[in-house]
Amino acid sequence: MQTAVIVFPASNCDRDAAVALETHTGKAPHMIWHKDTSIPDDVRFVVVPGGFSYGDYLRSGAIAAQSPVIKDLKQKAEAGLPVLGICNGFQILTEAGMLPGALMRNAGQKFVCKISRLRLANAQTRFTKLYDAKHEIDIPVAHHDGNYFADDDTLRRIEGSGQVVFRYVDNPNGSRGDIAGIINQAGNVLGMMPHPERAIDPLHGGTDGSNIFKSILGSL
């Protein structure tokens, strides 16, 4: 199955995302440069990877969200293409308006890199259906701007419609509602601050992230 990773200047988890996709599909993903204007038609799943696109200058993800390739990504996502934004990728998707809310500076002001324990707030999505809703999973976080914010109305709406997918057990960044990951209304665009691609290998970070890839790839 053909997948793709979008690469921005100073993406830095693009290789990790590619390894995760290849591990789960047996096939190397397309690496799509941000200046490309379209995502190849054979692509069935896209990862917007972590990193510090454009150095996180101005606001994390803001400049990347204006890239030529994002226009096409938006269109294809509206037509149903599944997209996973991880960390900086999540920031980019919110900046591009593909997911509600915004990611602000961590409440503690510091960059935080640790294993975070997550609760499945919604284990019915295309990305999470292989998880046991009762289980908590361990996935590393590494970010400076992971403090999820949405206004009261938006928060009520996404909570009400099951769009909150992951919550922190120990909120590391001040996110409202302990939100670690959300999905769009259509259920095909997931954004999360923790790094599931760093949790697919027993020698490195455990394997609790695998089911995200297995769930979504299995749904295609």
Partner: protein
């Protein structure tokens, strides 16, 4: 010729301000056959500064063992290169950014990380790991908190953004660093052994390319600043502080590696200290060619820059390279794709001279050989440090309360958890970190991408030992590094060093320097553990008070099979604890003495290099034979602290015993060298003890693993979680509350 005639600007004051001695100025006059102009004087000044010329240290560094069967490139290039089989090479180096970090901690530390990364990717390696060795002043010194805050944020800010994991390091606090903190950064990169790039500019008529950020007036005289001690007027001498741009660095890495995959690059050199000057001169000197540069073509950030400013600027994120004629367009295309400034600024020549033109005029025309080769090579007087008395266990009274003693040792600033630091570093990016600061282990372990092998990396130095006895301390630095790699099952291969000392013009400081080097070198030879790269930072003193001698080393070892890794976190209930190595109960210069009695006296523990090697080789063999479940070396704080750390990391308590006839404080807290603590299941106990006996290795049972307490039958008995909380909370408590800017 315009611009090279004697300039009225060159007064005696100007010469002195450039740190050029009378004798040195005579050499310049002699080599040029005339007086230099200001640009030329500036160039001589930085090239002959301590920082660039190593004038006080060169003759002593020459003693180091620098070759070995895995050494591909020793000192002399941007970084050292070692062979790790299968055509893979590891390229690594450590460097100081002490002075800039004291003046502006965030940017100083950040640019230190950026600089050391450039040294590594310049040679064709993708950076795969960063480490940092830090020394701060006393915790309650008014400046310490903001320095810690800024330095850690700066290291994280740069490394995290570039996307290279920061996997380990060390952090000390001591009054000796109140006025001069040390920020030493190490970078480790991975390359193909047959695609390593060097700096020698070969061939005449080849184009010289400038790539990266534009040149501004940053850090002019940074190199000379690093070569002078601070005093109360240092404010005035502040050069424009360099600001790091990790975004550009990341692009530079990707662009350089992309171009390196072609055959377009003949030679490449990053612009570090003394920027364009030292990079162009070193490349030319190594290649035996001359260089002509047109400074009008240098990308500039500011208007009206003079030749002097351009040549001495230390703007960051810049590279110089000699390109294969005919490949110019390819180079332009790659760098432009990555959005970097790129310009062809000159050519290599056969004149053997550095010729600079600016505004249509020749502004510098000097022979290159004297700049590099005739640089001063001083034999500064050195007075050995006087030996200290040995402290016997019986000289030190036992504590009244062993629980309190254990807590005080484990909450000594140097001993406490550094979680507050390493949680600000991305340790996992690149997805090959097998072990890092997170487990508190002896060495970080990085898998070689896509293979079943890994490297182990560690930084080490025990300044209090080096201060007490530079020679024994120097041996210990190298021995601990070797031991830390051994303790995770790695074959130690080579080290990089970062030698931080005070003012070399003082014979007692020079004595520390020479003593440390001699001790380090003896250990390097005993372990066949060569030095392949390094850096010297002198003049770390303020108002005549020098730092403790701090020769930090960064070690790299190879783990040939991922299934053979052992760390301190694998101890299981029911395991037996065995100590490898001899214990005399050495309390001189120990953490125990400092933490409990406020004393820093006594001779430091000597290192028996033969025993160290024998013990280490045996421990490595036990790991390879899958005989152990956990391993930790014994260092600061002795047996008790090693047992605590193993217990914290494994999440299980232990009961410790004292089979010796030493008093409990000497047995549990003595810092004898060459020792390891291993945990093993009961089937392995006898084989381990018997084989050790046959090899002449001391091995004895010293406890069992289990429960939720740390208990020593003749000493302490504390709850593991209670102790761990105190150990973990020291640094967050220190750093809580407001931090003033420095």
């Amino acid at each position: 010729m315009a611009g090279t005639s004697k300039s009225d600007d060159i007064t005696l004051d100007v010469i002195a301000e450039h740190g050029i001695s009378g004798a040195e100025y005579k050499i310049i006059l002699d080599r040029l056959g005339r007086e230099p102009n200001l640009t030329e004087l500036g160039i001589f000044s930085v090239m002959w500064s301590e920082h660039c010329s190593y004038k006080s240290s060169r003759r002593h560094l020459g003693k180091f063992l620098t070759t070995g069967k895995r050494v591909i490139q020793g000192p002399g290039e941007n970084a050292g290169v070692i062979d790790i089989d299968d055509g893979d090479a590891i390229i690594f180096k450590m460097e100081s950014h002490n002075h800039p970090s004291y003046i502006e901690p965030y940017q100083g530390a950040a640019t230190g990380v950026g600089g050391i990364m450039r040294d590594v990717f310049t040679m064709g390696a993708r950076p795969i790991a960063l480490l940092n060795a830090l020394r701060f002043g006393e915790p309650d010194h008014p400046k310490t908190k903001s320095l810690v805050d800024g330095v850690i944020a700066g290291i994280g800010g740069y490394g995290n953004c570039v996307g290279v994991p920061t996997v380990g390091g060390e952090t000390n606090f001591h009054a000796g660093y109140n006025g001069n903190i040390l920020v030493n950064a190490m970078c480790v990169g991975l390359a193909r052994a047959d695609n390593v790039f060097y700096s020698a500019a070969k061939g005449v008529g080849n184009p010289i390319f400038y790539v990266g950020s534009k040149t501004g007036r940053d850090g002019i005289h940074g190199a000379t600043m690093a070569s002078a001690e601070f005093d109360d007027d240092s404010e005035e001498k502040r050069p424009t502080v360099q600001v790091g741009d990790p975004f550009t660095e990341k692009l530079l890495i990707e662009a350089c590696l992309e171009l390196m995959a072609t055959d377009a690059i003949i030679a490449i050199q990053d612009m570090g200290a003394a920027g364009l000057t030292s990079s162009s001169i070193e490349m030319a000197d190594k290649g035996g060619v001359g260089v002509a540069l047109n400074l009008d073509k240098v990308p500039q950030r500011e208007t009206g820059m003079t030749a002097y400013e351009m040549m001495l600027s230390e703007s960051q994120e810049r590279m110089l390279m000699v390109i294969q004629p005919g490949k110019e367009q390819l180079a332009f295309d790659v760098f432009e794709k990555w959005g970097l400034d790129v310009a062809e600024i000159g050519t290599t020549t056969k004149t053997g001279r550095l010729v600079l033109t600016h505004g249509g005029k020749t502004v510098c025309d000097i022979p290159i050989a004297p700049l590099a080769d005739d640089a001063p090579n001083l034999n500064r007087p050195h007075t050995p440090t006087a030996p200290r008395d040995v402290i016997e266990p019986s000289d030190i009274i036992e504590p009244q309360d062993y629980n309190d003693a254990l807590v005080r040792v484990m909450t000594d600033p140097d001993m406490t958890s550094k979680r507050w630091i390493w949680e600000q570093y991305d340790r996992h990016v690149m997805a090959d970190t097998m072990d890092s600061s997170q487990s508190g282990g002896d060495a970080a372990i990085i898998r070689i991408h896509g293979t079943n092998k890994a490297i182990a990396v560690t930084t080490d130095c025990t300044p209090r030992y080096c201060y007490a006895d530079p020679y024994e301390g120097g041996k210990q630095v190298v021995a601990e590094s070797w031991r830390n790699l051994t303790a995770v099952g790695a074959d130690p291969i080579a080290i990089t060093d970062c030698l931080n000392f005070g003012n070399p013009e003082r014979p007692e400081i020079m004595g520390q320097f020479v003593g440390c080097i001699d001790g380090m070198n003896e250990a390097c030879r005993a372990f066949e553990y060569p030095v392949v790269s390094g850096n010297v930072s002198l003049y770390n003193e303020t108002n005549g008070v020098a730092i403790p001698p701090t020769p930090a080393v960064g070690g790299v070892g190879l783990i040939p099979d991922l299934s053979l890794i052992k760390t301190l976190k694998g101890a299981k209930a029911g395991d037996t604890l065995i100590m490898i190595g001899e214990t005399d109960g050495w309390l001189g210069s120990s953490i125990y003495l400092r933490a409990l009695m406020g004393r820093e006296d006594g001779a430091p523990p000597p290192v028996d290099l033969a025993a160290e090697k024998r013990n280490g080789d045996y421990v490595r063999k036990l790991i390879r034979n899958r005989r152990v479940s956990a391993v930790h070396d014994l260092s600061d704080g002795g047996f008790a602290s090693a047992a605590c750390e193993m217990a914290f990391s494994s999440g299980i308590g232990a009961t410790l015993s004292n089979p010796s006839d030493l008093p409990a404080h000497a047995w549990y807290f003595g810092e004898d060298q060459g020792r390891y603590l291993i945990a093993t299941d009961k089937n392995s106990i006898n084989p381990i003890l018997t084989t050790a006996n046959g090899l002449g290795v001391k091995a004895q049972i010293v406890g069992t693993v289990g429960g939720d307490r740390l208990t020593a039958k003749d000493g302490f008995d504390v709850s593991l979680s209670g102790l761990k909380d105190r150990w973990e909370s020291w640094m967050p408590t220190l750093m809580s509350g407001a931090t003033e800017t420095v």
